[in-house]
Symmetry: none
Subunit: 156 residues, 2 copies
């Protein structure tokens, strides 16, 4: 219990002791100086030097080390499918229609809905409907995810 307290407040105790010691020393010096009635400058100079040293010591002792965190990205191989034609089954399983597949392809090329509409001679709304259906069937919420999913499933 007491040991723990001592350990935990080691710094405080050390400081307190040294402070007490210093004050003692000062008292003593003061006494001598009063008797000798010597220069106050010497006295204050000593104090200044001593306490400057103390300050430096404490600062160096207590200064928090800056923590710098470096994140190293470690590459990990991921197994990629042999890139063959493993797609047809998935398409039928997901129930993607021809039109939807067309739209999905154009989507994967980065075309906007408007551009897809122009390419397929359809209205913008139709493309929106198709893409909504595609998202639902692929279980995603955005075109980018749809493309990602389609790549994973090798259906494009």
């Amino acid at each position: 219990m007491i040991t723990r307290f001592l350990v935990r407040h080691k710094m405080a105790i050390i400081y307190g002791s040294s402070l007490a010691l210093l004050l003692f020393l000062l008292k003593w010096l003061e006494w001598r100086l009063v008797i000798l009635d010597h220069a106050v400058q010497v006295y204050s100079g000593a104090i200044a030097i001593l306490f400057t040293g103390l300050g430096i010591w404490l600062a160096l002792k207590l200064a928090r080390p800056k923590v710098k965190t470096i994140v190293v990205e470690k590459e990990v191989m991921v197994t990629r499918q042999p890139a063959g034609t493993i797609n047809e089954k998935e398409i039928t399983r997901l129930g993607l229609s021809t039109r939807e597949l067309e739209v999905l392809h154009l989507m994967a090329e980065g075309l906007s809905n408007q551009e897809i509409a122009g390419r397929l001679f359809l209205s913008l709304n139709t493309i929106k409907t198709h893409s909504s259906n595609i998202f639902e069937k692929l279980d995603v919420r955005r075109r980018t995810q749809a493309v990602e999913q389609a790549r994973k499933l090798n259906i494009i």
Copy 2:
């Protein structure tokens, strides 16, 4: 600004305060116990405080910052393209920064800006800025095109 200063020099401030308090206490005790000419003591106390502060300041100012480096290894999935490493040059050629590359990766995973922001602990606006810069550097206008382009150039 001021808050930051306080935080950074917390220890110094704490020490300074406690020192001041201690001296105060000692002075008070001394004053009560001994009715003497205490001008010298006040004087030396002031000097002590001042020069301790100076010491702390000097130490904090002059000491080389202790830097503690923590290396955190972060595993990152990487799909190694069959053609080998054809990417690094393109990245530097396009001038894509680290952050931009990160955003680009998450973009390719189909995440929305909001989700990317959450993943990287950034604000939505920051992600928007990054993606805008990415689009400009890749010479595209939409995230889907950016992903497409990135795949073509093997930089993801």
